[in-house]
């Protein structure tokens, strides 16, 4: 999905303005000319200039490309749904892994994603369980990453 450069430029320009203004609130170091705000200010100026160039270029192409030229996936409800589910599953992991524990969360997320991507339904739970346990063994037992146990805490090893 290609968004016209003018729109991206406008978003970046807004960002650079926000950064530039916010940087003015950083406290100066007494007796020192170059404090915490210098770098962010420079970046915001450079980003602002770049976005101006992008806006100018994008306006010239506007007649040809329009605001957004959609890729084939953007017109396919199936693909968009898959993307939304993938992102939602990562968010689900972020929110649920601590209370629920790694093993149930990873199993649920994997099983749903396998389903979305068309893995055979009979294989899905087997694969999800197998991969969850392999990753758990690798990171928790071998690399000693404290993956959360959550509801399984009484059975933790």
């Amino acid at each position: 999905m290609r968004i016209n450069d003018a729109i991206l430029g406008a978003v970046l320009l807004a960002c650079s303005l926000a950064v530039g203004l916010y940087a003015r609130t950083f406290p100066a170091i007494p007796g020192q000319e170059y404090g915490a705000s210098v770098f962010p200010t420079w970046i915001s100026i450079a980003l602002g200039l770049c976005s101006a160039v992008l806006i100018a270029g994008g306006m010239r192409q506007w007649a040809e490309t329009g605001a957004v030229s959609l890729a084939s996936w953007a017109r396919s409800g199936h693909h968009l749904r898959s993307l939304a589910i993938t992102i939602a599953l990562v968010v689900f992991y972020i929110l649920a892994s601590t209370p629920l524990g790694f093993i149930p969360t990873a199993f649920i997320a994997l099983a749903i994603l396998f389903g979305v991507l068309g893995v055979k339904p009979l294989l899905t739970p087997v694969l999800a369980a197998g991969i969850t346990m392999v990753v758990h063994y690798g990171f928790y037992s071998l690399l000693r990453v404290p993956l959360p146990w959550g509801v399984l805490t009484p059975w933790a090893w």
């Binding site: 950083f26 000319e33 770098f39 270029g57 890729a71 990562v90 601590t98 994997l110 990171f139």
Partner: protein, 494 residues
């Protein structure tokens, strides 16, 4: 001499050797599956190297990246789908050879000249790095400031595509680098009261997002190529190696030299080296009309070049701490984590660490021949790995890897945000490598700038007072002005 002996002892430990072999297999696998890149392989490896001894960690990364760059040639040759971007330059050529029934010859040449290129890059690294380090010892904050500027400039100018988009990408990276408490003034910037943001954006989680998660999004959207109808090469890969070498040693050497040089340029890596070498090979060939019809000459030159670039990229990384490409950007992050801070002093204080890196480079490129042979033989199997199982597994890996950095889910949020950012950027033609270089070099740039300004009492002239600094400064400014001048001149003429 003691240092070399010590380095040999450090490398020839069972655990280090096992790690190298495993990393090689991992690199071959990731490199040969289209859609998974060498940079992605490295990014996925970092959370695991976190828990290793320094030498094993570096060994894993070196081996994995070398193997992945070679293995990218396999699907390129057999399916016309480059396994990693570094193979894209000669994919059409290699596939044309397969159609002519010369797939074995193409793959054999890829394997031989990849390994030779890697060894050449290593040799340059061994010779150039210590002598450059002696020069670098005289560097002060002024020189480091210019070097960082030069690196960032090259990253935006040399890359393919729009320079202005490269610049935007760089600015995004620099902006991300300013987040947190870690600045010369120690002021919390852009933290919005969040304790997690105080520590800054973790660069590994950002990498995993930009290079791995964005690729998973692309797969989910059905943008990955179909690889089901692959034919495995049946013949002997090693036939004709002697003849190839005798006939094309000049091309191989030219590819090696150019690749190493491009690799050493900050910001330009194996991908660009391969494109440039392919063009050079065609330009100087006695039979340029054969290019594109399945001619091995250009393949040899560019496959030599992309593997040589890997070694070259380590020169500025080890000596100055300035990454030569996105893989060495990750490496620098790992070196700091492992207490092997890159810079000239490491050559004096811990020469055994440097020799160990050299040794691993040599081992990896020699091991490439048998391992690469096995990978080519099992190509059919590798390319048929069901990706609807593989991609969710990689996503789980990314999630756990991002968690493992600080044992906090904040890393996963960073990963997700950068995954989306990387996806949107790629879709709209913004290169990703400058963002990574910006995140890595941002703090260096700012620290050296502020230190220099304090030293010179706020006078910009300080940046040109020392001869070394003045030289570097003039080169940097020339790199800014020359392309702009050329552009205006061409515009004025037309």
């Amino acid at each position: 001499m003691d240092a070399i002996l010590l380095a040999t002892q450090m490398v020839f430990q069972p655990d280090v050797l096992v790690t190298i072999v495993l990393a090689a297999l991992f690199g071959l696998f990731v490199g040969s599956v289209p859609g998974l890149t060498a940079t992605m392989a490295t990014a996925l490896l970092v959370p695991i190297t976190f828990f290793m001894a320094p030498v094993a960690a570096i060994g894993a990364i070196v081996t994995c990246s070398a193997m992945a760059i070679f293995a990218g040639d396999i699907p390129g040759t057999l399916l016309r789908i480059p396994g990693t971007p570094a193979s894209a330059a000669y994919t059409d050529e290699a596939y044309a050879m397969t159609r002519k029934g010369q797939g074995e010859l193409a793959l054999g040449a890829n394997l031989l000249f990849s390994a030779l290129g890697g060894l050449f890059g290593t040799a340059v690294l061994i010779v150039a790095a210590p002598s450059l380090a002696e020069v670098a010892l005289q560097f002060s904050s002024f020189e480091y400031f210019w070097l960082a500027c030069l690196g960032l400039t090259c990253a935006t100018v040399v890359g393919t595509g729009s320079t202005i988009k490269g610049l935007v990408s760089l600015m995004i990276g620099l902006l991300v680098a300013t987040i947190g408490l870690n600045n010369p003034a120690g002021v919390p910037r852009f933290t919005f009261g969040s304790v997690d943001l105080m520590g800054g954006i973790d660069f590994i989680a950002a990498m995993i997002g930009l290079f791995a998660v964005s690729e998973i999004f692309r797969y989910v959207l059905g943008m990955s190529p179909d690889t089901s109808n692959v034919q495995a090469p049946a013949g002997n890969l090693f036939t004709g190696w002697g003849r190839l070498f005798k006939q094309y040693w000049r091309q191989s050497l030219r590819g090696n030299v150019l690749g190493t040089a491009i690799g050493a340029l900050p910001g330009a890596g194996a991908d660009i080296a391969a494109w440039v070498s392919y063009a050079v090979s065609k330009r100087f060939s006695k039979t340029p009309e054969k290019f594109g019809t399945g001619h091995v000459e250009g393949i040899i030159e560019s496959t030599s070049s992309n593997n040589a670039a890997l070694g070259g990229a380590w020169v500025p990384a080890l000596v100055f701490g300035i990454p030569g490409d996105s893989i060495t950007a990750i490496v620098i992050g790992v070196l700091y984590l492992k207490g092997m801070n890159p810079g000239p002093t490491i050559f004096i204080n811990n020469p055994q660490d440097i020799y160990a890196v050299f040794l691993i480079f040599i081992l990896a490129n020699i091991f490439m021949v048998p391992a690469g042979w096995a990978a080519i033989k099992s190509a059919r199997l590798l390319m048929r790995v069901p990706r609807n199982v593989l991609m969710p597994t990689i996503l789980l890996f990314c999630v756990v890897g991002s968690f493992a950095i600080n044992n906090s889910v904040f890393g996963i949020s960073v990963m997700l945000i950068f995954g989306l950012l990387g996806f949107i950027m790629e879709e709209n033609g913004f290169p990703i490598a400058p963002t990574i270089l910006g995140i890595v070099l941002g703090p260096l740039l700012e620290e050296n700038f502020v230190t220099s300004m304090i030293k010179s009492d706020g006078s910009f002239l300080g940046f040109f007072e020392r001869p070394l600094a003045a030289g570097l400064g003039i080169i940097t400014i020339a790199v800014w002005i020359v392309p702009l001048g050329l552009y205006l001149w061409r515009k004025a003429r037309s």
